[in-house]
């Protein structure tokens, strides 16, 4: 089975390939449907404004978390392992935002028999505004 990236192929400072989605109700409603996540602030502009977002309904934080996982999976491929991902939701995903997942390697270690790569992660909007700083730990296949 092909491997996207080996532990020996990356180094601290490397960035993962950019991964983007432009989101609106087409993305949000599909995610709401599978996650059974029907919350008015994500469905209704009036409810969004009542929650102090002047532009109305806004996207789910959980979907941006999903995007982070998707970007990692697309980068590492099917033979690698996502061991940990965390993030904080600091800004809102507005309708029609183009969100780009970013990731930069901060450390690489062999621990517990696993070739682990540590990354700083974020989801950045089209204005360059970071919306959810976070981190990830992935386990890459080794040539060794």
């Amino acid at each position: 089975m092909p491997v996207n990236v080996h532990f020996e192929d990356v180094k601290v400072g490397d960035e993962i390939p950019a991964w983007s989605r432009t989101t609106d109700f087409m993305n949000w409603n599909r995610y709401a449907a599978v996650n059974d996540e029907f919350v008015y602030i994500h469905m209704d502009d009036e409810a969004g404004r009542a929650a102090l977002n002047e532009r109305g309904a806004f996207g789910m934080g959980n979907l941006r978390y999903t995007y982070m996982l998707d970007a990692l999976r697309d980068w590492i491929g099917d033979e690698a392992v996502i061991r940990e991902v965390g993030l904080q939701f600091r800004a809102i995903n507005q309708k029609h935002d183009t969100l780009t997942v970013t990731g930069k390697i901060t450390d690489m270690r062999v621990e517990d028999g696993e070739h682990r790569v540590y990354l700083d992660m974020n989801v950045v909007n089209q204005d360059g505004q970071p919306t959810c700083p976070g981190h990830a730990v992935v386990v890459l296949p080794s040539r060794g």
Binding site: V34, N35, N62, E79, E84
Partner: protein, 163 residues
């Protein structure tokens, strides 16, 4: 009433529940079709990886079959609906509005078709302070998922925000 007039959003129930495991749930068996739909929705409008929907392909990977995306939620669509926002309508009163602050998830074994997942949660801690939203309560909740063999699927520490 404005949120500035509320003295605290911490309730006696929160003190009683601190560090107590509760809300044990058992999922319906995970199905291939649920995994496929989850992957389609999360990767929309692009095609998701074959690992999540092509059994023949997935059989040749280290996983020996389809696995679920790591954020797959086997507890979606319960028969008995927990009391919540849907029935009550939008929440606009101070102290009742909520947001998802974020989470850290640590993953063990992946979820596969046929798995039955057991979940339990406990309230870990909280912190209350005045923010630009008014009086705001940050709660930290730990969740643990295990499969039918008792293997750890994941732990999640999530931050809830109420204001």
């Amino acid at each position: 009433m404005t949120s500035e007039q509320l003295e605290t959003l911490v309730t006696p129930e929160m003190h009683a529940k601190r560090d107590v495991w509760e809300n044990e749930l058992v999922s319906f068996p995970v199905s291939e079709s649920d995994i496929r739909k989850w992957a389609l929705a999360s990767y929309w409008p692009e095609k998701p990886p074959r690992l999540f929907w092509d059994a023949a392909y997935a059989k040749g990977t280290r996983w020996d079959g389809i696995i679920a995306p790591q954020d797959f939620n086997p507890f979606a669509w319960p028969i008995d609906r927990p009391p919540g926002r849907e029935a009550d309508g939008p929440r606009t009163a101070p102290g009742t509005r909520g947001m998802n602050g974020g989470q850290v998830e640590t993953f063990g074994v992946p979820m596969k078709p046929g798995d039955v997942i057991t979940s339990r949660t406990r309230l870990k801690d909280w912190n209350e302070r005045t923010t630009r939203l008014g009086l705001t309560l940050f709660t930290e909740t730990e969740m643990e998922w295990r499969n039918q063999r008792g293997e750890l699927v994941k732990t999640r520490i999530s931050t809830g925000i109420r204001y």
